[in-house]
Symmetry: C2
Subunit: 338 residues, 2 copies
DNA sequence: CTGTTAGCGCTTTCAT
DNA sequence: ATGAAAGCGCTAACAG
């Protein structure tokens, strides 16, 4: 502890504690001259108010929590960047918690947030988050919650997400405009509603351009690179091989690179690729890969902004805001529009 | 606030507040049966202790702060991952602050930490951090500080860093073992002592292998990609052109790729490249790029571990620990050892 | 084994 | 314009 508190300040100044407190908060009850003296002394002694005493008294923490599955991930770290920006503007502190995709860890984390440690929570659920009971109880205890990116599917609540349908649509149209006639969609099995919506976008784009959606062009991949490469080699050796690939995960774009390399298929001349990605930097090294990216920074900013609205207005039970943001298409020289 | 506190619990149980408090902390003064009753009621009412009241009373926050220049950066986000791991084990909360490379922002952040909000601070200085006065004052007020990666150059203090000399040495040897005879070192001007040490490692590796260190092979680059590409094209068109490139920043490796592409120089057949990098994932897309990487996760873990030692032992003024970790060499198929 | 009490540092009424 | 005093929820000494 810093050792210098209101008591010490007041002794030093020959004033009462309460006067000093008021002076520091610029109360109208205090004379200008006294204020000046107090401020100077506070500066001199390097006084910093004790946040615990203040928090206890005011029942406010000036702190929010961010709960995410992982941080060593470009999407989440950029989102945090946006969150921090807004939090800093508001003068709030940010506690970060990682669940590592573990529902139990998520639950215990949320539980710890209940004692009044934070004024609000931003959370992106972990994959196997079965129940949201712990979050309900937190919310009921008066802590507003905003979900971002990974949101509960069963319940109405404040959310900030990306428009997955639009992402899928936009990515597919990008390939179509680049001249592709036969576009494969690569997905990983057992995925969330997110994946379904992206594929709906893909299908809608095909339909709009009066193209047939061949089920053979929808490829279920695994999590293992080598087996995916084999799968893709088979796909790319078909008589009716695709001339465009839409990878729903960046990893699958990489597998495609390997496959093309092995069977000497030229990118982008013979095959154009677009990939979902949260790793802007990756495409730097591979100038031929266009990517469709979640607006991570915007998502962070919007979530935090929404949360602060709820904190300040305290009306978080009434109107439920659901913000949906458009994805970013980052074009590379692979598949420039003709 | 959750609304349920010790008072409510005690009323519900017909016990005194202090008995409940003791029971919850498993004090030997309380009978087993009472403890059981209390625990059950606490569970039932979903009691969570108020961290501010406890912090105020115990003069302890169970919280540490992490102050970093940016988070949308693979090194720092992975380092935070390591920090969080240790903090979670210790039951500590983690506050994160971003300075955005702004010395003033760093200073005001540190100032806010002085009131007892945290029990310790992990910090990586921003580039233009001229003075460390604010940190001294924080430390003097009893808050232990550990510096990681970007540490003060003028003062003895607890640090966790990467062995830059070893990094430079190891990277250069990697190229030598891959058969390179003439290795260029690309650096960006006006850099820190870090850069110098890496180059010392490069020079030492050459010397050890009885190779001449040609000053023409040490290239000062800018921050602008296109001008670097021009510079590199000139370098690679020399009669005595290098057969290996050691890029001290990942960006420069990318510029090299562009340059090679323009003058039709084949990688890795005609030119092998190794690069410093904090972006493990980038090399996934470019299988021919070997990288030398800071052990970010380890740095995070080590820093946090050291900080907790200081917090727990309270002897942070005596022995000053300076941990130096080895970098990781990630080999790709570009320049496999012969 | 349980209860009473003081006080952590601050804010906020209520007096003066 | 200033000060006295109560109390936020908790812990820890001290009584009983």
């Amino acid at each position: 502890m810093s050792g210098v508190n209101l008591k010490k300040l007041s002794e030093e100044l020959g004033l009462s504690i309460s006067s000093v407190s008021k002076a520091l908060r610029d109360s109208y009850e205090i004379s200008a001259e006294t204020k000046k003296r107090v401020l100077e002394m506070a500066e001199k002694l390097n006084y910093q108010p004790n946040p615990f005493a203040r928090g206890l008294r005011k029942r406010k923490s000036i702190t929010i929590a961010v709960v995410i599955p992982e941080i060593a991930n470009n999407f989440f770290s950029v989102a945090i960047d946006g969150i921090q920006l807004i939090a800093q503007q508001k003068g709030y502190h940010v506690l970060t918690y990682l669940t590592h995709e573990d529902a139990q860890s998520e639950e215990s984390t949320v539980k710890h947030l209940q004692g009044g440690r934070v004024d609000g929570v931003l959370i992106s659920l972990c994959g196997d988050s079965a129940s949201v009971g712990h979050l309900l109880s937190l919310n009921e205890s008066g802590v507003p919650i905003v979900f971002f990116d990974r949101v509960p599917e069963t319940r109405e609540c404040p959310t900030v997400t990306t428009d997955d349908f639009e992402s899928g649509f936009k990515a597919t149209e990008h390939l179509l405009h680049a001249g592709c006639k036969r576009i494969a969609y690569l997905r990983v099995r057992g995925h969330l509603s997110t994946s379904q919506k992206r594929m709906d976008g893909y299908l809608a784009a095909l339909k709009k351009n009066k193209l047939h959606a061949d089920p053979k062009m929808i490829v279920d991949c695994t999590n293992e690179n080598m087996s995916n490469v084999e799968l893709l080699k088979k796909l790319l050796k078909l008589k009716n091989r695709p001339d465009g690939i839409f990878a729903s995960v960046e990893k699958l774009a990489i597998s495609t690179y390997y496959a093309c390399n092995e069977i000497k298929l030229k990118i982008p001349e013979q095959l154009k690729i677009i990939s979902f990605s949260n790793l802007r930097t990756a495409s730097l090294l591979s100038p031929s890969l266009s990517t469709i990216t979640q607006p991570a920074f915007e998502i962070g900013k919007e979530s935090a902004t929404l949360l602060f609205q709820m904190i300040e207005k305290k009306n978080f039970n009434n109107r439920i805001e659901q913000v949906v943001l458009k994805s970013d298409l980052i074009e590379r020289n692979s598949s420039k529009r003709k």
